[in-house]
Amino acid sequence: MLELAAANLLSPIVLSFVLGLGAALARSDLSIPEAAAKAMSLYLLFAIGFKGGVSVADHGVDGTLALALIGGIILSAGLPLIAFALLRIVSGLSPTEAAAVAAHYGSISIVTFVAGTAVLEGRGIPSEGYMVAVAAAMEAPAILTALWLVARGAGETRSQGRGELMHEVLLNGSIVLLIGAFVIGWITGPAGLSEIDSFIVAPFKGVLCLFLLDMGIVAGRGMRAGRGVLDRGALAFGLFMPLVGAAAGLAVGLALGMMPGGVALFMVLGASASYIAVPAAMRVALPQVNPAVYLTLSLAVTFPFNLTLGLPLYVTIASALAGGG
């Protein structure tokens, strides 16, 4: 385990993240142009979706696809309840703030997911190709739970725009691209992959390195800007909640009888916190909550934790518990 953690920590992927983090903390002006960062994230989404689809075309869909989707949705909708309760106990956040944060932890971080698949590939652990579809399905439900939590309390959300908001969330670019590429990969199958694999397979890890360099810069800036925004309880939550989410993901993955890699990815999805779709939705629905609260927790606390220590931990546990399956 320690050895695996060290191997993970010393991979180019994690070291690139650390480089970005260090540069930002040292107030270097190193930065990736916004357009390049967005282009890399589109590339990663397209590639991961496409490869997932091809893998489904290749191995067929066994019966668990529908169950896995339902399991993911329940996980996403349920985790905010736990997160909310925890936050109300350990932190000084207001109910509305706690609900906004909770939505992030029910939803998922696709970059953490991508990094997780890279770790699995590196160790040769097989996983279900359709897990990218599960990831996409888990983006939105947490938002509904959070809005319900707020409405139940003070009722101060403005529900008139709810439909529009859900349209935006469900059709946000990341989800559409991920699902779209998944479907394209499924339709075209291995033949389609062979046409474009030197674009989406070979350079994948390298692009991921540069993208994580950028994420490191963003996380480092978040740490500097977010100092003082969070109390100790909230910070502790940012390190503890991923473990809770991973445990819940483990339970779902084992209950569904997934492959070891699939279980690990369920843990990763449970553990990770959104930093794209949910923050945008929260700015629209709960503008009174300072975005620094949730962005700092998600990007500057939980993401680094998952990337460095979480991933090897989840993969090791999943291999151990699901390995004999």
């Binding site: 930065s31 960062a37 994230s41 963003v218 930093y275 794209i276 923050p279 700015r283 629209v284 975005p291």
Partner: protein, 103 residues
Amino acid sequence: MQTHAAKRVEITIELIMQSRLTRALESAGVTGYTILPVLGGSGRSGAWSRSGQVTRASGMVQVICIIRPEKLDPLLDAAFAVVEPHIGVVTVTDTQVLRAERF
């Protein structure tokens, strides 16, 4: 050259609210606006900068409307309804336009 009095309304607002704002403006009868990108800024809710934004949640834009003076009040009402719960700034400046028939 002949110029005509007009009002220049500049609304700095979160990117995520842009389409809601322009729809509100259109339903208030505003027939034209121009949107400028914003690189960064600082206010009561802290400083932010576009570089390294990985999320759609931050980022702002500046919406500029040139209007006839008599259309100012409906515009401000419409804009205020959208801007009010959000961070952002609204300014109104006296100006002169060419080709007043366009406004």
